[in-house]
Symmetry: C2
Subunit: 216 residues, 2 copies
């Protein structure tokens, strides 16, 4: 099929598929059917086939999908079959935790610069990286070939960090700060907000008990 417009929801699910497929690969599975994969991901089998069809034909009729090949194909399709260099802005609790998080490197996202505007933090070495003044983002982004910025500042400093990153010519931002940020159209933003998820959870739990009460 290889369609033009790909639903946002599809992309989101692709990441889930990768996660599950990698688990299957660890467990030694070589082939998986859309039905089996669907069960683990809690989606409809047709959904999976349709999602994959947006990117190409990866399956074998009568057989299913070869796990390793599918992982590779999906990663290629998403553009995560290569190394992405990132800069982290805001070396607080969360920032430090992310800098020490091995998984980033494992998944091809290399944090190659750590930035902060606090003079007491500048010069400190965290996880092998010297903390650099945020004002120097421009030169460093060029020098190190950074494409993605990770914001872990407090909310009130998120927009300033954004501005530095945008000015430096970054292409995408992963924002952990609990604040909306504004960027020019050509820059992509993704928000990671624990509280969104906690709110969802609280709502589901509250609703669940409400329904239970109604039924009783």
């Amino acid at each position: 099929m290889k369609s033009e417009h790909i639903p946002r929801a599809t992309i989101q699910r692709m990441a889930v598929y990768i996660q599950v497929l990698e688990g299957l690969a660890r467990d030694g599975a070589t082939v998986v059917s859309s039905e089996a994969l669907a069960r683990t991901c809690s989606v409809n089998p047709s959904q999976i086939r349709k999602d994959l069809a947006y990117f190409g034909e990866f399956g074998v009729r009568g057989v299913g999908y070869y796990v390793q090949d599918l992982i590779t194909s999906i990663k290629q399709s998403l553009g995560v079959d290569r190394v992405w260099k990132t800069a982290l802005v805001g070396v607080g609790n969360l920032g430090r935790a992310l800098l020490n998080h091995r998984e980033f490197r494992l998944r091809g996202f290399h944090i190659v610069g750590a930035f902060d505007c606090d003079p007491f933090k500048i010069g400190e070495v965290v996880s092998g990286l010297e903390v650099i003044c945020s004002r120097r983002l421009g030169e460093k982004v060029d020098e190190l070939g950074i494409e993605i910025g990770i914001i872990t500042t407090p909310p009130e400093r998120a927009q300033r960090a954004t501005n530095y990153l945008v000015q430096a010519g970054i292409k995408g931002i992963l924002n952990f700060a609990p604040a909306r940020i504004t960027v020019p159209e050509e820059v992509s933003v993704e928000y990671v907000d624990f509280f969104h998820h906690l709110y969802n959870l609280a709502f589901k739990i509250t609703l669940g008990s409400q329904i239970a009460e109604d039924e009783a």
Copy 2:
């Protein structure tokens, strides 16, 4: 309206509305129209009115929404107008960062227990909490009135942590481990996965440059 079924997407947006409204409140705004709110959230004004209508009538025709009242109403609707007690399982880098994260308490999510299965960590005090053996989750969940579990273990230990939490009678789980977990139907799960967001970002950036190339 006060409808039965509320779209998942609506709930997700509610969290965004709260975030933006709290920003507006900080800036001293007392009233906001659906149109103004929509612009900041990058959604359609009708969308906002419809989303809010699922929960009740919060606006005043000809005026808009009173910011503080709306925040309160939304929080009530979502069930986050109270304290939720949570337990964190997995005191690694990320776990420590979350334990030290003031924002949790601020938003009504109190982490009242820290658990780990590593004997070297048990007994250690992190952010005022003594790390307790994961096996003792059952007694502690009861004793402390914990309703939500936060998993920050490595992926291979996520299911075990889940089992302890489920057995302890937890109602919801926020899973930071990059692995799918299985739970009984009555337990809700939310996944926080940075890499899902990074994958989305990578895809958007890749696609963006592809389109640019096509157009050029």
